[in-house]
């Protein structure tokens, strides 16, 4: 007897409980088919026995993950630095203060993480400083007097604004990755072993 043959239409009686319980059991059974439970348990126990770093301690950060984050920071730093070259147009001039501040915060972030001398709170604060500086630069651009739409200055303003918008997007991903560096084991979680 299944829920299809129960007193359907007679309210949410026991047949609904049965249907839900059966569906939940079946979902768990289905989930068990995509993971090799024995192998995943072995991975779990092996990783739990490894020494771990205290929460928020950069000393326990996994080198590969740190390298990936540093690569992201380097790319962002290079892009921001390229826009801080003097003698460009008015859009670059008005956004320069914000871009320099962002550059400085990125350098501090990179240096602190690379030396493993930065706590999670300090890293998060540095990322916030970068974000604040970029948003300040974006606000400065918006405050520029409107230039003729087809002119060079308008194109330059749009170009810098697009770049800042892209960096802010990258920063969100970077922030997530940095937070994950500092989980409470200081290590990436061991992945379950798929069946196939």
């Amino acid at each position: 007897m299944t829920w299809l043959h129960h007193g359907r239409g007679s309210g949410d009686g026991p047949w609904l409980d049965e249907a839900l319980a059966a569906a939940w059991d079946d979902a768990a059974r289905a989930a068990a088919t995509v993971v090799d439970l024995e192998a995943s348990l072995d991975v779990l126990l092996a990783r739990t026995r490894q020494p771990s770093a205290p929460a928020g301690d950069a000393g326990g950060i996994e080198p590969d993950r740190l390298a990936a984050v540093l690569t992201q920071i380097d790319a962002l730093l290079a892009a921001v630095t390229a826009r801080t070259t003097p003698s460009q147009g008015p859009a670059h001039s008005v956004s320069a203060a914000g871009l320099f501040a962002a550059q400085r915060a990125l350098v501090q972030l990179r240096s602190g993480l690379a030396r493993r001398a930065m706590s999670k709170d300090a890293a998060v604060a540095a990322v916030e400083r970068v974000r604040h500086a970029l948003e300040q630069a974006a606000r400065s651009l918006r405050a520029l007097p409107a230039a003729p739409p087809a002119g060079r200055e308008a194109a330059e303003t749009a170009d810098v604004a697009d770049a800042i918008s892209g960096w802010l997007g990258q920063l969100r991903g970077l922030q997530t990755d940095i937070a994950r560096l500092f989980d409470d084991t200081g290590r990436a979680a061991g992945l379950p072993v798929p069946v196939r």
Partner: protein, 192 residues
């Protein structure tokens, strides 16, 4: 040794060692951790996939494994290991979902109503697949209440985990059940 029974009404809480983190030498695995893991891991995957629509079953498995990895070293200090495990998994799943939404613009990754993992559904039986499909189409709050309920938690635990009142949990479940009964009733009346 804490019990395995997740229906306990005791709120989950971590009891830290004096240094604030469990010491490696203090880590002792419960004798039946293997049995618990094999029983609970698939259920935790199903729970994560239900709570966080949009995570496929493999991502849900990653989340579940990460939750186990965080729970195991502090197991002896947990008043209710199962509740702690599920809360960690739920928080991690929601954090991942938020990260995905941040990384992709809304027009690339539009907000979708709950959608069960295709890989999970593919492994399920026909009738149960229909039930899970309807479960996943519930509004997020109702879906979460049902997931916690099906995972065996008491209303007080669910309210605590979701940050809502017990009355809100009961109301959410009432409407969820009503909606499911209506949808499944309609499905049941269809000619087979």
């Amino acid at each position: 040794m804490p019990g395995w029974d997740g229906a306990s009404a005791v709120p989950p809480e971590v009891v830290h060692s004096p240094s604030g983190a469990p010491k490696l030498e203090d880590v002792t695995f419960p004798a039946d951790i293997g049995a618990f893991y094999k029983r609970e891991m698939p259920r935790l995957i199903a729970f994560v996939a239900t709570v966080c629509a949009g995570l496929d079953v493999h991502a849900a498995a990653d989340v579940a494994q990460a939750a186990f990895e965080r729970a195991l070293p502090r197991w002896a200090g947990l008043r209710d290991p199962k509740a702690w495990l599920y809360r960690v998994a739920r928080n991690e799943a929601l954090a991942r979902a938020r990260a995905v939404r941040r990384e992709f613009p809304a027009d690339v990754l539009p907000e979708r109503p709950g959608e069960a993992s295709a890989a999970l559904l593919a492994e399920m039986h026909d009738e149960e697949r229909v039930v899970v499909g309807h479960l996943m189409s519930l509004p997020p709050g109702q879906r979460q209440v049902m997931a916690w309920t099906l995972a065996g938690f008491a209303d007080a635990d669910i309210a605590d985990a979701m940050g809502v009142s017990v009355a809100a949990v009961r109301q959410g479940r009432y409407y969820a059940r009503k909606s499911l009964a209506r949808r499944l009733g309609s499905a049941g009346r269809r000619p087979r």
